[in-house]
């Protein structure tokens, strides 16, 4: 420490030094601010460097105390409330511990805040442009707060997040809506700008299968079609298959069903106004007179060697035994005659005919 004496107090050579003169000399002793400005400025300050500091609570007559830079910041940053704190530079010294309250206008441009509580971040004016929040609860985070590209939230809870751009490496959330989200997922789904896209499964988009091609489809455990191709199939049935030709024209007796089915049949009413109830391969019936009707085939038989079978139901009004038989046969029709056993022709309500042929 340097001092400047009161140079207006002078003593003559070999003169008398009085007590008053000495007091006068000492009383005027002081430290001038200008003296500090004349000192060489330290461009860097080490943690072991020392400064003089007036200890609070000690009277003005007390001597200043020396303190290291480390002690100064350890104590100053570990306690206290800074209502107008504006941290515009990097917090590079040490690790801040303890509780701190940063005012609503504070700006933290660079640094690490290991534990950020909700109360610290409720202000909309709080801006963290570059830093790391290792544990935090941010009740409402606005877009402007998160524009810093180096902003990293390693863990914590963000109850409301509004952002137009940025990357969230790991997001754990049980509720809420995330709009316009772009992220890379490990599974089969990607999300870009709010649009979800399924990964391609390996199948080529298209239509598979036709009347001449059958599709071959591979499905994975997730139900996705991973492969789709087509293959032709033969119109020639395998040996011993049941086919129309086998059933209808086969010379093998055991196969030929056509021989066992009627090529024409009819059920009609021969009384009143005659009418066909149901038929197959019958074009019409012809009423020639009482008990005299013909069954006309739609498709004629190839010859007249077919077998015509007649059936009928006796009407209630007719008490005598009835008979119905074939009167004539041709390739195109069968004429039926119905008579009572006691004599006389009779119209029948139910008259049936079936015809079989090769």
């Amino acid at each position: 420490m340097a001092t400047i004496l009161n140079r207006t107090q002078t003593f003559a050579t070999n003169g008398t030094v009085t007590a008053a003169g000495l007091h006068n000399l000492i009383d005027d002793t002081g430290i001038y601010a200008g003296l500090i400005t004349t000192q060489t400025e330290l461009t860097t300050v080490g943690t072991a460097d020392q400064i003089l500091i007036a200890v609070g609570g000690v009277s003005d007559t007390g001597a200043p105390r020396r303190a290291t830079v480390q002690n100064l910041f350890d104590d100053a940053l570990s306690v206290g409330t800074y209502t107008g704190l504006n941290l515009s530079g990097a917090i590079t010294y040490g690790t801040a511990t303890g509780n701190r309250t940063v005012s609503t206008s504070a700006t933290i441009t660079t640094g690490t805040i290991p534990n950020l509580t909700s109360g610290t971040t409720t202000s909309t004016a709080a801006t963290i442009t570059n830093g790391t929040l290792t544990t935090a609860l941010i009740s409402t985070l606005t877009a402007g707060t998160t524009t810093g590209t180096a902003g990293i939230f390693t863990s914590g809870t963000i109850t409301g997040l509004n952002s137009t751009a940025g990357t969230i490496a790991t997001l754990n959330s049980t509720t809420g809506t995330i709009g316009n989200l772009s992220t890379t997922l490990a599974g089969d789904l990607t999300i870009s700008q709010g649009t979800a896209t399924l990964a391609t499964s390996g199948a080529t988009a298209g239509t598979y299968g036709s009347v001449t091609a059958i599709p071959f489809i591979t499905v994975d455990a997730k139900g996705r079609i991973t492969s789709a191709t087509t293959g032709t199939f033969s119109s020639t049935p395998p040996a011993n298959s049941v086919t129309f030709n086998t059933l209808s024209t086969s010379t093998t007796e055991a196969d030929n069903v056509a021989k066992r089915t009627a090529k024409a049949w009819v059920n009609f009413n021969g009384t009143g106004t005659p009418a066909i109830r149901s038929d197959f391969n019958v074009s019409s019936i012809t009423d020639h007179g009482t008990g005299d009707q013909s069954v006309n085939f739609d498709a004629a038989f190839s010859d007249s060697n077919y077998c015509a079978v007649i059936g009928f139901e006796q009407v209630d009004a007719v008490s005598s035994t009835m008979a119905a038989g074939i009167k004539t046969m041709s390739t195109s029709s069968v004429r039926i005659k119905c008579e009572r056993s006691s004599g006389g022709d009779e119209d029948l309500q139910f008259l049936c005919l079936a015809a079989f042929s090769l």
Partner: protein
């Protein structure tokens, strides 16, 4: 079908009642089922009596 075909069978009249499954016209049916050379007419079914007591006495008239 309300139309039927009647034709002269030489000794009386025959009446053709089409099958409900007949898909052609009555003219086509007549060509197929009326004996060749026989005159015929296509008439409404109501023109033929449903009382067949004297069925064998019916006559064909042009």
């Amino acid at each position: 079908m309300n139309k039927i075909i009647i034709y002269d069978n030489g000794v009386g009249v025959s009446v053709i009642y089409p099958s409900p499954n007949w898909n052609g016209t009555l003219e086509e049916l007549a060509t197929k089922d009326v004996p060749a050379g026989r005159p015929y007419k296509i008439v409404d079914v109501s023109e033929v009596p449903s009382d067949r007591t004297f069925r064998n006495a019916w006559e064909y008239q042009e």
